[in-house]
Amino acid sequence: MAITDIKQYVHLTEADIEELARELDAIRTDIEESRGERDARYVRRTIQLQRALVVGGRIALLASRNKVAWVAGTALLGIAKIIENLELGHNIMHGQWDWLNDPEIHSTEWEWDTTSPSVQWKYTHNFVHHKYTNIVGIDDDVGYGLLRVTRDQRWKPEYLANPVFNVLLGTLFEWGVALHGVEITKVRKREKTMAEARKDLRVIGKKVAKQVGKDYVVFPALSGPGWKHTLAANAIANLIRNYWAYLVIFCGHFPDGAEKFTREEYENETHPEWYLRQMLGSANFTAGPLMAFMSGNLCYQIEHHLYPDLPSNRYAEISERVKALCDKYDLPYTTGSLMHQYMQTFWTIVKLSVPNKFLQASSDDAPETHSELKFRIREGVRESFGVDPATGRRRGLRTALRELQTADVATA
């Protein structure tokens, strides 16, 4: 039933965990102190590039009856929307660039090119998701109130449609994100009143009107007789962005190895353990510089969760240091190719459409979720291993997992 005692799960001593947190803090300080003109230029140039792509795309689509112009315009606009949502919108609203002290590139001022209003996004994402990451029942990003992504979520008949909902969510991703702001799960649990929900919906409505007005009224109208082609192009550009953002985000928390946690874990959590939860709860995917850029550097999801407000262009260098720490403290660092990570995610979603009784693994030891209890199925696996006497290295979760695999496993 997901991880309840992260200290026990990682098989490190309390002193080790505190030392790890100090080293993670040191990375933050190093980056904060070395932020400067180079980083500022990076975000300014990204903004320039993104706006140039929008202008190019929109101009090309004024001649959308021409096939070449249509394809070029759609592609430019799709790419621009991806950059705007991920590398700019998501990251700026996280406050990654607040240190520039530039009101035009600031978390309090930025509004992004999607139907989700920034004010609600900052609440559900920056606060709820990043503080309560992967705590089943608190973090609404565990399945978005729609999907079953871990067997810790109690099965309901509507989950039979899990694979269908999955495709729908990918297709309508920006609308899903917007509705996420209403926190339907909370409304269902009566933690939020209908009046509050209606107020949120009004805010969403205003934003939707502007977004829809732009993509489906103003620009088609400007294209004159080609309005149908422009309308289709804008819809497809939004679709391209939807699928890509969906892919990037699903690969951040749903591949195997991205752990889930219980409320009890959070209730007794220290700051060093918060760091651990972020590390174990997230998954990266391998990416070259171009793919990293197009993913808003969310291919470095682990680093993003450790330091959500440090500039995204530094995640690559941070990842080298985090990987080194994972080696030093013998912790897993979950990563794989985008396809590999997505296939795991997809398979989890398909499998979990059925109740647990049809599934082989228990929620203590399943591909998508584990708990410290998985080490209890066999007597003799220690709570922590301390330092390896032969090599002098710390031994932690990786050693524990290896022990479990290689040693004879007694049936529980």
């Binding site: 300080t29 002290n101 009101p103 509004e111 900052k122 977004q211 732009k214």
Partner: protein
């Protein structure tokens, strides 16, 4: 001022650029073509003395030239990627000079931005501007008898007043007592001396403190016999202004005195805590250096915006109106013009936040 037509056109085009403004695209063509944030282009940096310079700026869209002589201008300059904000007195004449504006800045050893403005800013640099503000302004028309008491860079707002008086064609009876360390440190020396030669209503007393010591305001009668009858504008270091205020209060003519203080009272380095004022409700509370501004506001039942309470979500960010605060996580000190995370910031001297 932008006309009504321009504004409604902008609103119309914004239907196509939403969530951005047309300005956000236009500024890529010309940095001054944006009214989202007031901007300006530095067109000239002229040295006044060894350590002071006049920076002439061409304002961009949306800037109103309708300020009053004596008011100050907020200016944001980018250094190392980061925008730093300070305020300096305008020394230009309102609604004149081909719409150019000017500030005069004295580099102080501890003033990182003032040194940068005097020594490091080249023509062509784009700066941010905040609309001119301040109550230290000369009325139009001016009173018949005036006294200006200035010291050091405190001359700057008064220079704007002197220049505006001339331009308006007014010639009130002016007595000017200006203090500077030595003759080479007198900002606008040539202009002041020329004024004294050509305008018989303007008399200047230069107090060079290296040789002559400071002005003794308790014995001002010797310098300006009728000082109690004059409307007075005083600007300079805190010690001088304190002496002036004491003298005017003692003589029962405090209501004839207008002062401008540049420095914000700040606790010594390392000294933390202070009185935090919440601007909109005008409530204030004394906090130690370990209590966050958010906790302080909540103690006063102010509806502080909040989220994670651990410095990661930016839900609580508010503009710092004046004073200094310290980021408890990194130890960084923030000053007026910065936006701060109230959940991880503590007072570092008295400060005001905009809520």
């Amino acid at each position: 001022m932008p006309t009504h037509g321009v504004l409604s056109l902008r609103g119309l085009v914004a239907r196509a650029t939403t969530p951005l403004l047309p300005d956000d695209y236009l500024k890529l063509l010309n940095p001054l073509w944006s009214a989202r944030e007031l901007r300006g282009l530095v067109v000239d940096v002229r040295r006044e003395t060894e350590d002071s310079a006049t920076v002439t700026i061409k304002p961009g869209w949306g800037f109103s030239g309708d300020y009053q002589p004596g008011q100050y201008l907020g200016i944001g300059v980018r250094v190392g990627g980061r925008w730093h904000w300070r305020s300096y007195s305008l020394t230009s004449i309102p609604r004149r000079d081909k719409k150019l504006i000017a500030i005069t800045v004295k580099a102080t050893p501890e003033g990182f931005l003032s040194s940068h403005l005097v020594n490091g800013v080249d023509p062509g640099t784009v700066v941010r501007l905040a609309a001119p503000r301040g109550d230290f302004a000369l009325p139009d028309p001016a009173p018949a008898k005036l006294l200006f008491v200035t010291a050091g860079s405190g001359i700057t707002p008064v220079m704007a007043m002197l220049r505006s008086l001339r331009q308006r064609g007014e010639s009130p009876d002016i007595m000017h007592v200006h203090s500077a360390h030595a003759i080479g440190d007198v900002i606008f020396r040539d202009e002041l001396c020329a004024l004294e030669r050509t305008q018989h209503d303007y008399r200047l007393h230069l107090q060079l403190t290296a040789d002559m010591g400071k002005v003794d305001f308790a014995a001002l009668d010797g310098l300006v016999p009728d000082w109690k009858d004059r409307s007075t504008w005083a600007c300079g270091p805190t010690a001088m202004l304190d002496a002036v205020e004491n003298a005017w209060t003692a003589a029962g003519v405090r209501d004839k005195l207008h002062t401008e203080r540049f420095a914000i009272a700040r606790t010594d380095k390392g000294g933390e805590g202070g009185t935090v004022t919440f601007k909109n409700s005008d409530k204030s509370i004394k906090l130690d250096g370990a209590t966050t501004l958010m906790e302080g506001g909540e103690k006063l039942s102010i509806q502080m915006p909040f989220g994670c309470r651990m410095g990661i979500c930016q839900s609580c960010v508010l503009p710092l109106e004046s004073g200094y605060v310290r980021d408890l996580r990194s130890g960084t000190e923030h000053r007026a013009g910065d936006r701060i995370q109230t959940c991880i910031s503590a007072a570092s001297g008295d400060c005001t936040i905009d809520i």
